[in-house]
């Protein structure tokens, strides 16, 4: 059985809060997306009666900053959710240590997404 060469007494624990923040952000982004979905639905319903308000609504949705923001939120929530699924059940046999790598990898993907959204507009 091989252990790490530096004993526990001389190893400080780092990265404790990454897991906590990922969890909290998942909850907050979930709440935000739910609220946004409800608001979006209500707006679409209203716009069926009042075409003018549709244009206002769409202008907001196509605003580049808004697009980046919503991409980040959706992207994070979706990818983190996938990460959670993969990790909680143990698909691909992934265990704790790479979780941080996954989170980081995720954020990189998100940024890419965001940049694409920016360019696209």
């Amino acid at each position: 059985m091989k252990g790490p060469s530096l004993p526990y007494a001389l190893r400080w624990v780092r990265g404790m809060d990454i897991a906590r923040w990922a969890h909290r952000l998942q909850r907050w982004s979930g709440l935000f997306l739910t609220a946004f979905a409800m608001w979006h639905t209500v707006q679409l319903y209203r716009s069926a009666r009042d075409p003018g308000s549709l244009a206002t609504h769409l202008a907001l949705l196509y605003n580049p900053w808004f697009m980046v923001a919503i991409t980040l939120v959706v992207g994070f929530h979706g990818l983190n959710g996938l990460r959670q699924l993969v990790y909680e059940v143990g698909i691909l046999g992934i265990t704790s240590q790479p979780r941080l790598v996954l989170v980081v990898g995720m954020l990189v993907l998100l940024l890419a997404f965001g940049v694409m959204a920016w360019r696209g507009v």
Binding site: M1, K2, G3, L6, P7, Y8, A9, L10
Partner: protein, 579 residues
């Protein structure tokens, strides 16, 4: 006196009161409640159940005859020869005959899993002083495996009640000169309790922590032996204290004195003095480093005292020649511990020195775990007689688990017919007042300071090598320390007061230390772990030193023959040639 309360708040009753929370105590509790009708058992633990104490810290393993090529007679013989024939041979016979069934029980009943060899058979490793490799183990942390499973079993058994952070401070007289229970200080609430019990079991685990270097868990202070002495029970062979030869030298840290287990020497580690010599060749050329603990400890001590030790006062143990990976695989816990202390067992020498480890002496018991006082029992390190003058590695945890189990089984039957004794409540109140007298909120001596003085004095004067003049001076100075310990500063409250706990422990340790010094002076021979520079040879006939507190308050000493019912010294080849 501030908030220090003198009131006895509660009175509890139990069929069996067990003082302690280690291997002997938990086995006793579990075995007492294994069958119906179940007696009411109460455990009173100084720290946390199953976590404090030394069974937990066992790194080596437990001896038991499991192999058909081994024999009970061989285990018996090894133990009695190792004990220099001071053992009570009936107790030794109980140890060796019950150890195998205890191993089966630990595995099948409590879910412990010892290491297996490549054929799936239980692995038994070699240990010094034994004629056969019979030590069962789990890696190098057998104690953790055993105690975690026993702890689990006790927590799961709803009929067992226990108080943690509670310390028995006096035994209470019952009827007809026996013991009827104990006075307990509950550190969580700060209140005193009286516990009435049909049977009281001392299983506090000895623990000679009154030396500058010692291995036991830090809360130990020979409470059981001190309580038994004050109650008037017979004690035996207190001078027999085992110094483990390889304790970590780590000055300035509590890690100082922490033990590096014997398996190292069993696996081929060498001991070197500061000159790089394997000095064991001068003390035991046939067995070298695999000699018994007393010989190796004395050898290391002499090397250090004669100036061939390291600047920090130690010698070196080196097992790195086995290769880094093998050492890491065989002793992962110890490798880690040495790295914590600034060394590396896997790649180089580690500084070690003898360290006080175990007290073979203690409360005299018979084969029913009965002490000389009715209603009082003892099991484990608190008891005397099993190991004689020196304990073999692997027999300590065996003793605790075997005799704890036996005590539990015997008491289950005994208390069924007994009535709950009355205790003298006035005695209890006086005991509280006497105890708290001198534990002041405003002024007194420093507990930490007196502990340090006690440890230094015992190390230099009642240590590995003893001499009459030093022992007499030790007795004189210990009396001075006891006088000064009558007034200690503990601070304003009883509630979870560490200084108060250390003060109570100090008084117990001082009491027993004084008895140890007396016993060491009386025994003017060298035998087993007890070495007298002025009397280096052993008597022809082995004798136990039994002592008891007389009515005047002074101890009275008596020589008695050990029960040599099965093996005589003459039957062991080469015995008479040993000095």
């Amino acid at each position: 006196m501030g908030e220090i309360g003198l009131e006895i708040i509660e009175e509890l009753t139990a069929d069996i009161l067990i003082l302690g929370g280690g291997g002997a105590a938990l086995m006793c509790a579990l075995h007492a409640t294994d069958q119906v009708p179940t007696p009411r058992v109460l455990l009173v633990v100084k720290g946390l159940l199953g976590k404090s104490g030394c069974t937990r810290m066992v790194q080596g393993g437990m001896n038991a005859v499991l192999n058909s090529e081994d024999s009970l007679e061989a285990h018996f013989r090894d133990t009695v020869v190792g004990g220099a024939f001071l053992n009570d041979q009936e107790l030794v016979w109980l140890l060796v005959t019950h150890a195998p069934r205890i191993v089966f029980e630990l595995e099948n009943r409590y879910g412990i899993l010892f290491d297996r060899d490549e054929y799936g058979r239980i692995h038994q490793k070699p240990f010094a002083g034994q004629s056969f490799n019979r030590t069962v183990h789990k890696g190098d942390l057998t104690g953790i495996e055993v105690m975690e499973r026993l702890r689990e079993a006790v927590w799961a058994r709803s009929s067992l009640v226990f108080l943690e952070d509670a310390q028995a401070v006096a035994l209470l007289p019952g009827e007809e000169g026996g013991v009827g229970g104990a006075l307990v200080l509950d550190h969580r609430s700060g209140h005193f309790l009286v516990v009435r019990a049909k049977a009281t079991v001392l299983a506090t685990g000895g623990g000679p922590t009154f030396y500058r270097f010692s291995t036991p868990s830090r809360e130990k202070s020979l409470d059981g032996i001190a309580l038994a002495y004050r109650a008037g029970a017979e004690l035996m062979d207190l001078e027999m204290i085992q110094f483990h030869p390889t304790g970590l030298v780590c000055p300035g840290s509590e890690l100082n004195g922490a033990v590096l287990e014997e398996g190292l020497r069993g696996a081929g580690a060498v001991l070197l003095n500061a000159r790089g010599e394997r000095f064991m060749v001068r003390y035991d050329p046939t067995r070298m480093e695999r000699s018994t603990r007393d010989i190796v400890a004395r050898a290391a001590y002499m090397e250090i005292m004669e100036g061939r030790g390291t600047p920090q006062g130690g010698v070196y143990i080196d097992i790195s020649h086995l290769g880094r990976e093998r050492v890491e695989a065989m002793f992962p816990g110890m490798v880690e511990r040495t790295r914590m202390a600034g060394y590396d067992l896997a790649t180089g020498p580690v500084e070690v020195c003898p360290t006080a480890h175990f007290i073979m002496g203690g409360i005299r018991i018979d084969e029913m775990c009965r002490t000389s006082l009715p209603g009082l029992y003892a099991a484990g390190e608190d008891a005397a007689g099993v190991h004689g003058a020196n304990r073999l590695g692997g027999n300590g945890i065996a003793e605790s688990l075997v005799f704890g189990a036996l005590a539990g089984e015997l008491l289950r039957e005994e208390v069924a017919e007994k009535a709950l004794p009355r205790v003298d409540i006035l005695y209890a109140r006086d005991a509280v007042r006497e105890l708290m007298d001198g534990l002041s909120a405003e002024q007194g001596e420093s507990t930490a300071g007196l502990w340090a003085e006690l440890k230094d004095l015992m190390w230099t004067h009642v240590g590995v090598v003893r001499e009459e003049a030093f022992l007499r001076e030790a007795i004189r100075r210990l009396e001075g320390l006891r006088e000064r310990a009558r007034k200690l500063w503990v601070g304003p409250t009883n509630r979870f007061n560490l200084t108060l706990m250390q003060a109570l422990s100090l008084r117990n340790a001082l009491e027993v230390a004084w008895l140890v010094a007396h016993s060491a002076l009386y025994r003017n021979e060298s035998r087993g772990a007890h070495f007298r520079r002025d009397h280096p040879s052993s008597w022809e006939v082995p004798k136990n030193l039994v002592l008891r507190r007389s009515l005047s308050g002074e101890p009275s000493f008596e020589w008695r023959s050990p029960r040599m019912t099965r093996l005589q010294p003459e039957e062991v080849k080469g015995w008479s040639e040993r000095s």
